[in-house]
């Protein structure tokens, strides 16, 4: 595995071009790398560091702060059960236990076939349908034990492939207008060349 594919390298440079300072692209680039590889590989960390003119340790040191960035492989489906207050009141711990039984793993573990990783999450802002279950950050609200069994069956059979991309892909679209970085141009750390980065005097409205 290298770093970014040629297509993703173009995307990476477009993302960097959106920001007044290149380092701001660090987290978006980590998401891009995870959408490509499912997790944040050492090669991706080196390439992101190169693109942003940082040391790999700076990229890793930032990434390790964030729950969504994984420097170890995770399953194709990251199943999260929120157990925070509203979900706990709605039976989340009981549901989490059932998930462990159904998947045959404990929280934080990945199934042997690499399909599922189970996680206990904090509040996901799905508190009106407790317990809030997410699969690669797609919401399934108010499931009971049978609902979980059905969900796992559907995921195993690939019936939700259209709705739920493999782990790492969060949003499937990207900014596609007003891009300033041409793919061939080297990203410029610390300064964006676009005219919109400069403050423009405003025409005063007619009174």
């Amino acid at each position: 595995m290298g770093g970014f594919t040629p297509d993703n390298l173009v995307k990476a440079k477009e993302i960097i071009g959106l920001y007044p300072k290149a380092r701001s692209a660090l987290i978006p680039l980590c998401h891009l790398a995870q959408s490509q590889d499912g997790w944040l590989t050492p090669e991706a960390i080196v390439e992101i560091a190169d693109l942003l003119d940082l040391a790999p340790a700076e990229v890793k040191g930032t990434a390790s702060f964030y729950d969504m960035l994984h420097t170890e492989p995770v399953g194709r489906y990251l199943v999260g059960v929120c157990t925070n207050i509203a979900c706990m009141l709605g039976g989340a711990y009981e549901l989490l236990e059932h998930c462990e039984d159904r998947l045959g793993i404990r929280c934080g573990q990945t199934t042997k076939d690499g399909k599922f990783t189970l996680e206990e999450t904090e509040c996901m802002a799905g508190c009106d349908g407790p317990p809030c279950v997410t699969v690669n950050y797609r919401y399934f609200l108010g499931l009971d034990n049978q609902g979980i069994d059905q969900l796992v069956d559907d995921l195993e059979a690939g019936r939700l492939d259209n709705e739920i991309p493999p782990h790492g892909t969060v949003y499937r679209n990207s900014r596609n207008v007003g891009l300033t970085a041409s793919p061939t141009q080297e990203p410029q750390a610390g300064g964006k060349s676009s005219q919109i980065a400069q403050p423009t005097p405003t025409k005063r409205g007619a009174k």
Binding site: R23, M68, C127, A197
Partner: protein
């Protein structure tokens, strides 16, 4: 008179998130109107509206804007991190009316003369990120973003920035650190007030998603029409995210200061009452950071100052209802555990205190508690927020730490007997 829907007017439409629906329902007219006003006039409307920030602290938006340091470069950053436990209003606005958020952001950027704006959206909001990214692309092609928007001479870019999972990034200075590509460590104030030294060291306004989503209505109808609703400083409508043991959990947009917690919980058009018609045992009035209220406080109005005077806060606008079958120790422990998991670790009282409190609470809930543990917990709270008052004394960089006692200390004060039963009986009487 029925209260106008300021931020939820479009939610009845299946396609509420598309630019077609948005424009058909009056979308982007407010931005066109604002661009014909001077930036000062737009600011004045917002000041007149007295719109209080909807992110948690409830600061007047117009006043916040007026405090911005004079500087050629200014930034606007919208806070869509929404991770306060039991808060789920911004996710709805982000997913279901992204253009309203974009338009509100553009109006505000013009008002403060920021030519670069960011919408920071919690990384877990996959659909929300897709919707707002889509809306920004559409708005750009529509001429509302980019150089010389709607031929006004004003140029602005708007970048949608994904977070990556950290509650602390909702704190405005941590959010700016994160947006700069760093760990989400809050900055110390002073000097790092965003309005003075914000993103990349430049003056920056940070406002919540719901705050921004109110702007199109305020500009279309005028700040005075907004201020005519509500009472005192609590003007306009507000989204209340109701969860826990109510029959109809959900987001409800209601006029501020006119209804009480009891109305919110029991009105058939709102919460619809408590499950199994049980009694309310306690409520959390403004997100997990807020001190709890008992059943005797349900007649307080949903008014920021009234709730503050009663010793808590409206905070993020979420209300959790816990009924008589709920174990108060377990509920408080789960919130303590959250703060332990999410403490960024910079300040000793918060980092160590949250860990100890989590462990001691767990021990009591599991039946291994000792009577001295209650004093120990209060002592730990006192180390984080001396005096254990509300509003709290702050010894830490941000207010995550001082929010930890809100569940722990208040549940001990309100339900000491229940703690003692856990300790005497060696276990939880509810399980």
């Amino acid at each position: 008179m029925s209260t106008p829907k300021m931020v939820t007017s479009r939610l009845g439409f299946e396609d509420s998130f598309t630019i077609d629906r948005y424009v058909k329902t009056g979308g982007y007219q407010a931005l066109r109107k604002a661009l014909k006003m001077t930036p000062e006039e737009v600011c004045a409307e917002v000041t007149t509206s007295n719109l209080l920030g909807r992110g948690g602290a409830g600061f007047e938006t117009g006043r916040k804007w007026s405090m911005l340091r004079a500087n050629p470069v200014r930034y606007l950053v919208v806070n869509g991190d929404e991770s306060e436990p039991a808060t789920f209003k911004d996710r709805m606005l982000i997913e279901r009316d992204p253009h309203q958020l974009v338009e509100g952001t553009l109006i505000s950027a013009y008002a403060i003369q920021a030519t670069q704006a960011f919408i920071f959206i919690r990384g877990e909001f996959a659909l929300g990120l897709e919707r707002v990214l889509g809306a920004v692309n559409e708005a750009y092609e529509y001429g509302a973003i980019g150089p010389d928007i709607f031929g006004s001479g004003f140029s602005v870019d708007l970048v949608v920035h994904p977070g990556a999972g950290a509650y602390i990034c909702g704190e405005e200075t941590a959010l700016l650190e994160s947006l700069e590509g760093k760990r989400g460590y809050p900055r110390i104030k002073p000097p790092f007030f965003p309005a003075v030294i914000g993103l990349y060291g430049e003056p920056t306004v940070v406002n919540n998603v719901e705050t921004m989503s109110n702007m199109p209505w305020i500009i279309s109808n005028g700040g005075a029409a907004f201020a005519a609703l509500g009472a005192g400083r609590s003007t306009g409508t507000r989204l209340f995210a109701l969860s826990g043991h109510v029959k109809q959990p959900g987001n409800y947009e209601i006029e501020m200061a006119k209804s009480t917690f009891r109305d919110l919980i029991y009105n058939p058009d709102l919460g619809g009452g408590v499950r199994r018609d049980n009694k309310v045992k306690a409520i959390i009035p403004g997100g997990a950071s807020a001190p709890w209220f008992g059943p005797d406080q349900l007649d307080l109005h949903l008014d920021q100052d009234e709730v503050a005077k009663a010793g808590s806060m409206l905070g993020s606008g979420s209300v959790v209802v816990m009924d008589e079958e709920t174990c108060m120790v377990r509920a408080a422990w789960r919130i303590a555990r959250f703060f332990h998991r999410e403490s960024c670790g910079q300040c000793t009282p918060c980092r160590e205190g949250s860990g100890w409190i989590d462990k001691i609470m767990r021990r009591i809930e599991d039946g291994y508690g000792r009577e001295e543990d209650l004093d120990l917990l209060m002592d730990a709270c006192d180390n984080i927020a001396p005096g254990v008052t509300w509003p709290p004394q702050q010894t830490t960089i941000c207010v995550l730490g001082p929010s930890i006692p809100s569940s722990v200390a208040w549940s001990i004060r309100m339900f000491r007997d229940e703690y003692l039963i856990h300790i005497k009986e060696g276990g939880c009487p509810f399980s």
